[in-house]
Amino acid sequence: MTSAVSQSTRKSPPATGRLDVRRIREDFPILDTKVNGRPLVYLDNAATAQKPRIVLEAMDRYYREQNANVHRGVHHLSVVATKAYEDARLRVQRFIGAECPQEIVFVRSATEAINLVAQSYGRPRLRAGDEIVISAMEHHSNIVPWQMLCGQTGAILRVAPIDDAGELMLDGYEALLGPRTRLVSLCYVSNALGTINPVGEAMELAHARGIPVMLDGAQAAPHLRLDVRALDCEFLAITGHKLFGPTGIGVLYGKRSLLEAMEPYQGGGDMIKSVTFEKTEYNDLPHKFEAGTPNIAGTIGLAAAIDYVERIGLEAVAAYEDGLLRRATEVLSAIPQVRIIGTARHKAAVVSFVVDCAHAHDVGTVLDLEGIAVRTGHHCAQPVMDRFGVPATARASMAFYNTMEEIDALADGVRKVVKMFG
């Protein structure tokens, strides 16, 4: 039996520079859904992306034909499942350009990846008065684990400023890097603003001082090519469900030497070599960090999603999404009552906005009745909302299956909001 990974490439979108969006949409069954009698316009991709059929089929096939526990037993299905699981790890390794599969740790989310680094890397190393640097545009998942770590160790959290456009202020960031800075953790792409951070420059500044850098790549992975060797980050967190894969699966990349030196995150089965009541010897990388039965189907779905995205080509995706972003920015800016929050020069296809006569939740409800799904609220980034002095925003976040017509439908919906509340 071949692995789920190779099977999952049977049906593929065209690998051309220009996207055949009509054909791509056929790969996503949920996009045919009607909401309130209208065709679904799904513009909440930064919250979670929809799943192409090959992801659904790969996971279904696993449960129907391959299900067994991994790294246990000699029976046929266990061997098949283990191969599929480890093939998925190789697939992720190639996708992000890691040197070896030992650097790929499967976790349940980008959030868990960050928590793992905070607890396994940070907690034994940090002392009272040491410092961790993040930015003012982080998701709560890249704030709270560090606050918890600070509470445990007496370390101090420093926050690099952002400007009115939502760009990281590199001089302000550099000023925070000092002799006590032990780690920098930055988002590559901001979920609330869409800003693409100058992570290369930020990392150079940190590395020049011998400071390791963690990148939160959860929002970047669906839009940009991530190459950990080119980036030279020490740690990278990504999540499957924003990358057109299933929920409940994420990846921590870490440089091998660092992972080797770290204590396990959780204890249990699969992360051990031998256990007695006196002493336990931990397993090798990456299994040392994967206690318990993992989300096997999730890894298989993630591998299928990566196959899908690479077939389309992230370069083609970026070019197409840039067109969507420009259109969305243009049509929303043309509505006088709309203010776009986050106007960085380099942005992923995310437009956060407020309507001056209507609260974001009212915007969301009116759009929902038009079949348009956007996120409304603080986007798990309350400090970003505070920075811009708004309680909440509406956020349209695009993927390669969205169309210009859908962007225009969004603008029509926002005009209805203005008519009703203006």
Binding site: D362, T365, L369, F421
Partner: protein
């Protein structure tokens, strides 16, 4: 679809959103409570003045969506002049209306203008917007000190 939209955003709600009544600070309030909806970040402070067992003034401050602003505004108009018992009963019946729960909780006198919120029960994501000010006034009437959270 626009029918559904107008079921939710009835003219009275839009009017109270644009021109909220009793949206002011009451410096000499006898009781005060704060409400917070962590889901959307809406905050409301409700002030109550009581004379004997009668509510003689109710006001609110805060910012929120149209549903929560209009609900706070209409709440102040409805609760003002009621006895404490009547006000708490009104809260229970309003809550029943919004959540679409047991009819018996709505026994008693009609809800009058508050019926304008009957469309909210069709929008589960918005129920908390409509009930925030009511939970908060209820806490004020009960003299609870902890901030009210809708989560």
């Amino acid at each position: 679809m626009m029918e559904d939209l107008h079921d939710l955003y009835q003219d009275l709600i839009l009017d109270h959103n644009r021109r909220p009544r009793n949206k002011r600070l009451v410096i000499d309030a006898d009781r005060k409570a704060e409400g917070y909806n962590p889901l959307c970040g809406d905050r409301v402070t409700v002030y109550v003045k009581v004379d004997g067992d009668r509510v003689v003034d109710v006001a609110f401050e805060g910012s929120g969506c149209a549903i929560s602003t209009a609900s706070a505004s209409l709440m102040t108009e409805s609760v003002k002049g009621k006895t404490l018992t009547e006000a708490k009963s009104l809260f229970r019946r309003f809550h029943g209306l919004i959540t679409g729960e047991a009819e018996e909780s709505r026994d008693g006198p009609g809800l009058g203008k508050l019926e304008v919120f009957s469309g909210v029960c069709k929008f589960p994501a918005r129920v908390k917007c409509a009930t925030l000010a009511w939970h908060t006034v209820n806490a004020a009437l009960n003299d609870e000190r902890d901030p009210v959270k809708t989560e």
